[in-house]
């Protein structure tokens, strides 16, 4: 019924389709396991679905006057002007990190009020530096 050429073509076509489907399913499966969801402090306080073992990103404003640097960590409050969450972090912050400015932190929740960040990201398109930081830096350098 089918000649050899058609059969060959059909086999190749079916093989390629199966491979493609496997590849796409595999890609999306991996994708689902590896995405980082982004929450605001209000969303965190509302939902119970966040697994404490999953890495997530939270974002909002760094609350004015909330940044505390101690011997071994940095602590600050991220707010969306409705709810707040305390973030603790070890390491250097990006240059655009500042009080009253937007911030994104990546890490895990300890509980609904406390977030342990592994990485801090800040928006890049900022052309402004709060005068307090500048003053403080100058003072420290003396």
């Amino acid at each position: 019924m089918l000649n050899n050429k058609t059969k060959n073509r059909l086999t190749i076509f079916v093989a390629i389709s199966i491979l493609t489907i496997i590849a796409i399913v595999f890609i999306f499966k991996t994708l689902e396991d590896n995405v980082l969801y982004f929450y605001s402090p209000s969303e965190i306080s509302k939902t119970d679905e966040i697994n404490l073992n999953n890495k997530i990103r939270i974002g909002g404003m760094v609350k004015e006057g909330s940044v505390k640097t101690s011997e071994d960590e940095i602590k600050f409050i991220v707010t969306d002007f409705k709810k707040e969450i305390i973030v603790s972090f070890q390491g250097t912050v990006p240059a655009l990190f500042a009080e009253g400015k937007g911030v994104v932190a990546e890490g895990k929740l300890k509980d609904k009020k406390f977030f342990v960040a592994k990485r801090i990201l800040a928006k890049h398109d900022e052309n402004y530096m709060p005068p307090e930081i500048k003053k403080n830096l100058n003072k420290n350098a003396k």
Binding site: N34, Y37, F38, N136, N140, A141
Partner: protein, 625 residues
Amino acid sequence: MLSNIGIIFSSSALLSSLILIYFSIVELKISGDKISQKIYKFSLFKLIFSLSSFLTLIAGYVYSDFSINNVYENSHTSKPLFYKISGTWGNHEGSLLLWINILVLFSFLFLVLDKNKNKNFKLLTLIFQNLLISIFFIFLLSNSNPFAPVFPVPSEGNGLNPILQDPALAIHPPLLYIGFVGSSIYFSVALASLICKIDSRSLATTLKPWVSVSWFFQTLGILVGSIWAYYELGWGGFWFWDPVENSSLMPWLLMTALLHSVLVLERKMGLYSWVIVLSIMTFTMSVVGTFLVRSGILNSVHTFASDPNRGLFILSFLLVMVFSSIFIFFRYAPSENKNYKIFSKEFFILLNNWFMIFFLAVVLIGTLYPVFLDTLTGAQISVGPPYYNFILAPFLIPLLFLMTSGPKHRWISSDFKKIFDIILFLSIISFVIIFFFIKESNLLTNLILLFSIYLIIQTIFDFYGNLKNKNINLSRIISHFGFGLLIFFISINSILSLESNFNAKIGEKKNLGNYVINFKKLETAQIDNYKSVIGHFEILNKKKSTIENLKPEIRLYNKPETITYEASINSNLFSDTYLTMSNISDTNIFNIKFQKKPFMNFIWLSVILISLGGVLKFFKIKRQI
């Protein structure tokens, strides 16, 4: 003043390009095998006008002519001359003008250099090129005019974002654009050869030099971008799977696929339609890349200026481009007979293409998935490095293996040589020795190491073997050797890297395993257009009892008022020591990030070796012609 001159130059370039389209269409119908002088003349005019408009913008930057809005927004009189010039393409409008200039230059070079005898084929290629040029000039003049005047004329400019004031970032966009825009030539060539029914051999000879040149520049452009990210972003990594990095990688993967499949095409063994599809896809991906970066649709370290209108323009352009090429493809695609024998060289090249397409799919899905999810469900997500590493790493093993064994096979033959030979034996021994030093427990990483060593040793043997035969395919050997090294050193680097974050006061000493970090003092300095706070650190390696001095900086730029943290990197042959510091609250406690990054220089070197293959190939083609 300069603003008007610039607009006149770019409008004239647009006009010459439209005239060229008209002349070319007229000439298509005239028989004869020579392209007339007037087409050469107008192409030259277009090139001169276009270059002059770019030089005008550069002049505007050099002389700080703030009557041009673009200069006012992105420059400042106190900026060093070098960064005044590089600031020209550090913003959207200027970089678009650079983009167009490279497009114009490439079209001109194609007209002058391409030796194809078919007149209509060349004319059609030029028509497609000039259509692209016209569309982008119209976009430039209507939406993103770099010469837009500002009135009243401000006395001082806003300055350039300090993280862009960097030598690597001054050459990064031009390199990358040569790669991106170079691919427009294969797009036009592909469409033109479909319509003119060019045979596969001359299509291959036409494409080859352009593919190797743009691939070379694209590789270097990506490298320079990575080096910049490594020392400027302060995270100590060199590849973050950031959407913008991905959009430069995607055309690269396609160019790599094309680079390989052109070899098959050249020997008249099919793949004609496939090469056409790849050529169209490569330029499409370059435009997608431009769209992703410029529309601001993606959150990334690069999107400092974005505008939905731009996105809309590029998106509609993209749709028109893709649909018209699909139409042309189905209208003109030739039927061809494919019969491949398994284990012949062309079979392996086809496999290479499959890998490249798979990698492209992975990167494309990872980059676009967050955008789709956001549009469809409103959920905000980001796709991080674990996705890419998890999915791509296992596939490196067969890829490395195929790169090792593939080139051993001859064209159109199907004898299967045995794979257990002296080279595999040597590789296993070297792997065992290395394993003894690093003691890595992850099976996957070990396999990647083993197969990259296998590839490295095989290419070294190939080099000696071919040296004797005098029939040397140096470009393939060097590029594959470089790729083997790259994977090898990236793996070793990820295994042996150390990172430590802590806070410290001036005068404090920290004990971290093998290292003692001493924060000795702080000093300030006033340099050109910024003020610097410099930390003096002394790092003692207890094992080797060596001392390194590192000076990370906090810089306060005055125009625009910005703060940047400059990493201090002590780069030795085998290992980099990386230190950044920041200070955020009202205390004298500084945040420190300390890293040991082994073999960074070898990673850069491997990429240079890979790109070197492209140059060698280019010169080999030149010699053949």
